[in-house]
């Protein structure tokens, strides 16, 4: 089981002090948060991609490349990479480059974005969102898997004899998750390719996401990638922790009430009831997260949102201490103990390389005559 944090990268005024961080402060804070995530024993740091204020992370691989140089173990990911408006050729290049710099500690999550004008700003038609995601991703896969690509599609200029460089590290493309909060087509896409499916269910009730995840699991099995419970599922989560539960509520309430995404709407209590948000003690966060497993089945990746709505960096780092020291170790133990042997961990670069080698050996074993078994061993 992988645990990590994902950040939206919003520059938001702290409602308790009226102070707004500069872009530079926010960007450096995101890096500090990533380093802290590794320090407290988390596995993943993922950044969003946005192209409008008040968000800063327009260039995720630049940020993740910098984080890669300052970390040793942390998997660097996105939440999400816009497969609709980015050129798939540039995604293939940027993330292969990042793979090399980070020694393979890279995966990424495809998404369609949630800001309408980004489509026209990048010369795309929002009514073609699903088609763009389908065509662009299919091309992206080919660019990583075929050394020379001839390609023609609807949404970008054709490619003749094109080689995306650098080639993926060890010949193995990064693992891909597909994020969706709404569209059954994206669950279908993730299932078709045997990729991961990430349900960022932090703002919405869980019933909706159960249907999406069930669809993904069923179709994953349908397309022959394994049984439904072997499908690779990631979930969002949102916590604000304090050892004293009431103190957590008291401290988080002003941030909740003014949060750009859901502030000025339902009460913190109602929202906590309806969504995965936990505002309380580490024990409460553990209970709620274990509940995700009961509701959605064994899953592979849990990302928490901890740094939005104007929370100051110092507070976020305290949150990470609590998460790393008092929440994740218990969750890790419990999840690992409960997960059946046939349910896999989330793929990593190392496991994908091993799988590719094993597949290569299996192919070689079939091709090599029985009389020369040494040739197989030599590989």
């Amino acid at each position: 089981m992988q645990f990590g944090v994902f950040t939206v990268g919003d520059v938001t005024t702290d409602p308790t002090t009226g102070r707004t961080p500069t872009e530079a402060e926010r960007i450096k804070a995101m890096v500090t948060i990533a380093q802290k995530a590794e320090e407290v024993g988390l596995d993943v740091f993922a950044t969003g991609e946005h192209h409008n204020p008040p968000f800063v992370p327009s260039s995720p691989t630049t940020m993740l490349g910098y984080v890669a140089a300052r970390t040793e173990r942390l998997i660097l990911s996105t939440s999400t990479t816009l497969i609709t408006t980015n050129d798939p050729v540039k995604i293939a290049e940027d993330f292969a480059m990042l793979q090399h710099l980070a020694d393979g500690r890279v995966d990424l999550m495809m998404g369609r974005g949630n800001t309408g004008p980004v489509y026209p700003w990048f010369g795309k038609d929002i009514t073609k969102g699903i088609e763009l995601a389908v065509e662009n991703y299919d091309l992206l896969r080919r660019l990583w898997r075929e050394d020379v690509v001839d390609w023609k599609g609807r949404f970008r200029t054709p490619l003749r004899g094109f080689t995306s460089t650098p080639r993926p590290l060890d010949g193995v493309p990064p693992f891909v998750w597909h994020g969706s909060i709404r569209s059954p087509e994206i669950a279908e896409q993730a299932a078709y390719y045997g990729d991961g499916f990430f349900a960022n269910h932090i703002f919405w009730p869980r019933e909706h996401f159960r249907r999406l995840i069930e669809l993904y699991r069923t179709r994953f099995e349908h397309y022959g990638h394994g049984s439904a419970d072997q499908a690779v599922v990631g979930l969002g989560g949102q916590v604000f922790l304090h050892r004293n539960s009431q103190e957590a509520v008291r401290r988080f309430r002003p941030y909740f009430d003014n949060a750009p995404v859901y502030g000025h709407g339902p009460s913190l209590e109602d929202f906590t009831e309806m969504t995965p948000l936990t505002v309380g003690s580490p024990a409460e966060a553990i209970d709620k997260t274990m509940g995700f497993r009961e509701y959605f089945g064994d899953y592979q990746r849990q990302l928490f949102l901890v740094d939005h709505a104007g929370l100051p960096l110092k507070t976020v780092l305290e949150q990470l201490d609590l998460l790393g020291e008092e929440v994740v170790p218990t969750l890790r133990k419990e999840f690992d103990a409960l997960r059946p042997a046939h349910v896999p961990e989330a793929p990593t670069h190392r496991s994908l390389v091993a799988a590719a080698r094993a597949a290569g050996e299996a192919r070689a074993a079939i091709e090599v005559p029985v009389a020369e078994p040494d040739a197989v061993v030599a590989r």
Binding site: I130, E135, D138, G153, P205, M274
Partner: protein, 205 residues
């Protein structure tokens, strides 16, 4: 006897409201006309006043509370709809509009619908034609030709009530005819019948 469900959406704010009084008369008359056609109709009333906060929260968060989700489902799953709003500032009320703003885009497709409104005076009576009917038509509902407007006076004067009564009867009969025909087909749920990915890829052509 065939069974059908009629959903009533009442945007009135008083307790009881003029909109609810009118809605109940329309629902009763529609039930009677359906009974004559051998159809037993159950009526589910959605009082928007009770959902006012939930509707505002939905605008902010993008998802419905359990109570609002149930109300939205009631309307989407109905065989007929009676939608009644009070007139506020020359149109339907904001609360009434908000409910239709948060409905799924295709929730009302082909749904037989009767629109009605209440107001302080008969000067507002065309609100059904310039506000409610276009809204429901935009949402692909099938709106019956007779819309019903009731001014406060209509609930008092004898002769006025005769006129209102005959409009209610005509509108209810028109709605009952469409509901008993029951031609509405609910679109496939994409979660139950997923589109095969090869087809999504193939569509790109």
């Amino acid at each position: 006897m065939t069974a059908r469900r009629i959903a009533v959406v009442s945007g009135g704010l008083g307790q009881p409201s003029g909109s609810r009084l009118l809605a109940d008369r329309l629902a009763g008359a529609t039930r009677d006309h359906l009974l004559e056609r051998g159809v037993d109709a159950a009526v589910d009333v959605v009082e928007l006043r009770e959902l006012a906060r939930d509707l505002a929260d939905h605008l902010v968060t993008g998802f419905p509370s359990p109570a609002l989700a149930a109300a939205l489902r009631t309307v989407a799953d109905a065989d007929g709809l009676i939608a009644v709003s009070p007139v506020f500032s020359a149109s339907y009320s904001g609360l009434f509009k908000t409910f239709f703003d948060v409905l799924d885009r295709d929730a009302l497709t082909d749904l037989p619908t009767l629109v009605a409104a209440t107001g302080g005076s008969a000067r507002h009576s065309l609100v059904t034609e310039h506000a409610l009917r276009p809204l429901l038509t935009y949402l692909k509902a099938v709106v019956v030709p007779t819309a019903v407007f009731a001014a406060t006076d209509d609930f008092g004067a004898d002769d006025a009530d005769v006129a209102l009564g005959s409009r209610i009867e005509r509108a209810a009969r028109q709605l009952a005819e469409l509901v008993s025909a029951g031609s509405r087909t609910v679109p496939d749920d994409p979660f139950d019948a997923p589109v095969d990915f090869e087809r999504l890829l193939g569509r790109l052509g």
